[in-house]
């Protein structure tokens, strides 16, 4: 369908868009519905107008009760002094912005939790999308058994649950029995007699990055590969005849065609990498024992569930959500400017 057709129907709220081969064309629509009698046509239109809402209702109920309401609740909670006593009693005292003041004036936010969230997410997204795209390009060059084999391996990487994957990386970097610790020591990067990798903030997050990228690149690779297969062969051949090398072909032919695909994988990777929780929480010290490696997610959880400061935890959660929303809005604005969703 052409973009023009989509645009013209976007402003036309009546009836289903896809009623004619090019939706917004009134004469065609009347020709199609012309085979019905007048009364049936009116009925049909009423049903058609209600149908999208009918289809959306079940999903909306679930989303409303389990996502929207808790979202409101977490905000109200962040203005309350909600501790163990309130958990038993039920009602809680409003304390205004106290929780936010506490969080925003905490050294832990500016020097620990915020960098641990932002820098970590940025590095992970760049690496995940970069590696995923390279792997997709590689897969696109391969055929037959080799391609199936590699796809299977990538699926295997994708299938590892975050929990078990994290345990494997912890094991590999374990001070006593870690294979990769041994490699690092052999190369001379680490001395296990004096350092434990997991207590060093930088190493801790390097390991977490490896874990998150390994977990995330298959999704990017498979999605981009699916997009690559839709790039018209004629376009590539024409570019090749015009003398464009593989690098030029990627940046001037493939990348523009795949822009929406890249937008989606980047948005989703960003969302996922901002709220990494399990991979951090399960690592040694990640559950709050080592305050230096807390990120916004684990800090919020530890404050609420570990120290029974539900109001404070909610305030941190609200801040994390606002941060994510800000990033999303920037993405959405660029997306909606580019094309009709």
């Amino acid at each position: 369908m052409s973009k023009a057709a989509v645009r013209s129907t976007g402003t036309d709220p009546s009836g289903p868009e896809q009623s004619g081969p090019d939706g917004g064309d009134p004469p065609r629509r009347s020709r199609r519905t012309g085979i019905r009698t007048g009364a049936r046509q009116a009925d049909h239109l009423a049903i058609t107008r209600r149908r999208p809402w009918l289809l959306l209702t079940p999903a909306f109920i679930v989303l409303g009760v389990l996502l929207l309401w808790p979202m409101i609740r977490v905000v109200t909670l962040s203005f309350q002094d909600f501790g163990l006593r309130e958990l038993v009693r039920g009602d809680a005292e409003l304390v205004g912005l106290d929780n936010f003041t506490r969080v925003l004036t905490d050294r832990l936010l500016w020097q620990v939790a915020l960098p641990n969230t932002l820098v970590f997410a940025a590095v992970c997204v760049v690496l995940t999308v970069g590696i995923g795209t390279l792997v997709a390009l590689l897969l696109n060059q391969m055929t037959g058994v080799w391609r199936s084999l590699l796809l299977t391996a990538i699926m295997a990487a994708w299938a590892i649950p975050a929990v078990t994957g994290t345990y494997v990386w912890i094991y590999l970097f374990d001070a006593r029995s870690g294979f990769l610790t041994g490699v690092l020591e052999y190369v001379g990067l680490v001395d296990t007699a004096t350092t434990n990798l997991f207590t060093e903030r930088l190493w801790f997050f390097a390991i977490a990055t490896l874990n998150v990228v390994h977990h995330g690149f298959p999704f990017v690779a498979v999605t981009v590969l699916a997009g690559l297969m839709t790039v018209p062969k004629e376009l590539m051949e024409a570019a090749e005849i015009d003398g464009a090398g593989p690098v030029k072909r990627f940046f001037f032919v493939t990348a523009p065609v795949l822009k929406p695909v890249f937008a989606v994988v980047t948005i989703l990777s960003t969302i996922w990498d901002f709220k990494v929780f399990t991979q951090i929480y399960l690592m040694p010290g990640g559950d709050g024992a080592n305050r230096e490696v807390l990120n916004l997610g684990t800090w919020s959880y530890v404050s609420a569930m570990g120290q029974n400061q539900y109001g404070l935890g909610a305030a941190i959660a609200v801040l994390l959500t606002l941060l994510l929303l800000a990033v999303t809005v920037v993405y959405l604005r660029t997306l909606f400017k580019e094309e009709e969703l």
Partner: protein, 278 residues
């Protein structure tokens, strides 16, 4: 001619190198998991990744003393219920936003996308309090509803693309042949969107099977632990029982992996492309 051959050989070499690197990187953790799970000296502290022998003792320990059969049952029940519920709800919603141009369409799309941004962790606290009030703590159903909610936005968003990719001409042909909208939905749209449903079902399954925080927070009764939480018992103050951890991890990972690889073809080969070309 020879220059072209040389270029081809060089290309082949690069491809082979890339193949090996990606292959090793992808399967290394699984390999380590499996080899440690069957290694009799897994807990001896050697830095090996190759097993020194073969034993099933770790698996026996995990299933007998680790109570893993119960955890497996809990996880399977929760995951299947989540997949069923979220597939149905997501397909309906996806058709609504992909096939109809109604007044609130763009706001609805924005809402779904925005809702997905909300970090699960941000909602643990209110959902924990809500579940406590409703008596849904220590109930598998409590986990199912939460997982359905969290897998829905992604499923709707993904299915939307699959629905939009089905040629409208097919629907029109069905309408001209006198099919009602629901007949069209089940006979035309549903089969063509099936690959998309497979993809989103996998996603929902993984959400439920892998989820950790809610499973940890909602369940205090150890008989209701899911597998992801059940693993934690092998970490004690005296260090980890790595053999047991990896055996348990393998039990969690391998079924999902087989399932994944089995549906891989459906995921990657677009059935839809075939439908429109033919």
């Amino acid at each position: 001619m020879s220059r072209r051959n040389a270029r081809r050989t060089r290309r082949r070499l690069w491809l082979a190198l890339g193949f090996v690197v990606v292959l090793v990187f992808s399967v290394f953790p699984v390999f380590v998991m499996l080899s440690t799970a069957v290694d009799p000296s897994a807990n001896s502290g050697s830095r090996n990744v190759l097993p020194t022998g073969f034993t099933l003792d770790h698996f026996r320990f995990v299933l007998d003393e680790g109570n893993f059969l119960t955890y497996l049952r809990n996880s399977v029940l929760v995951a299947l219920a989540t997949v069923l519920a979220s597939s149905v709800l997501a397909l309906f919603a996806a058709v609504a936003v992909a096939r109809f141009r109604f007044r609130m369409r763009i706001p609805v799309l924005m809402l779904i996308l925005t809702i997905q941004m909300v970090p699960m962790e941000a909602l643990v606290i209110p959902l924990f309090l809500q579940a406590k009030t409703l008596g849904l703590l220590d109930q598998l159903l409590g986990l199912v509803v939460v997982y359905v909610a969290f897998s829905l936005p992604f499923a709707i968003w993904t299915l939307r693309g699959f629905v939009a990719a089905v040629p409208v001409e097919l629907e029109e042909a069905a309408a001209l042949d006198g099919a009602s909208w629901w007949q069209m939905f089940w006979r035309i749209l549903f089969p063509l969107v099936a690959p998309g449903l497979v993809a989103t079902s996998i996603f929902s399954f993984i959400v439920a099977w892998n989820e950790f925080i809610f499973a940890l927070t909602f369940m205090s009764d150890s008989d209701l632990y899911t597998v992801a939480v059940g693993l934690r018992q092998f970490f004690t103050r005296n260090g980890a029982n790595w053999g047991a951890v990896m055996a348990g991890s393998a039990i969690i990972t391998v079924p999902v992996m087989i399932f994944f690889v089995a549906v891989q073809r459906k995921l990657t080969s677009g059935l839809i492309a075939g439908a429109t070309k033919g």
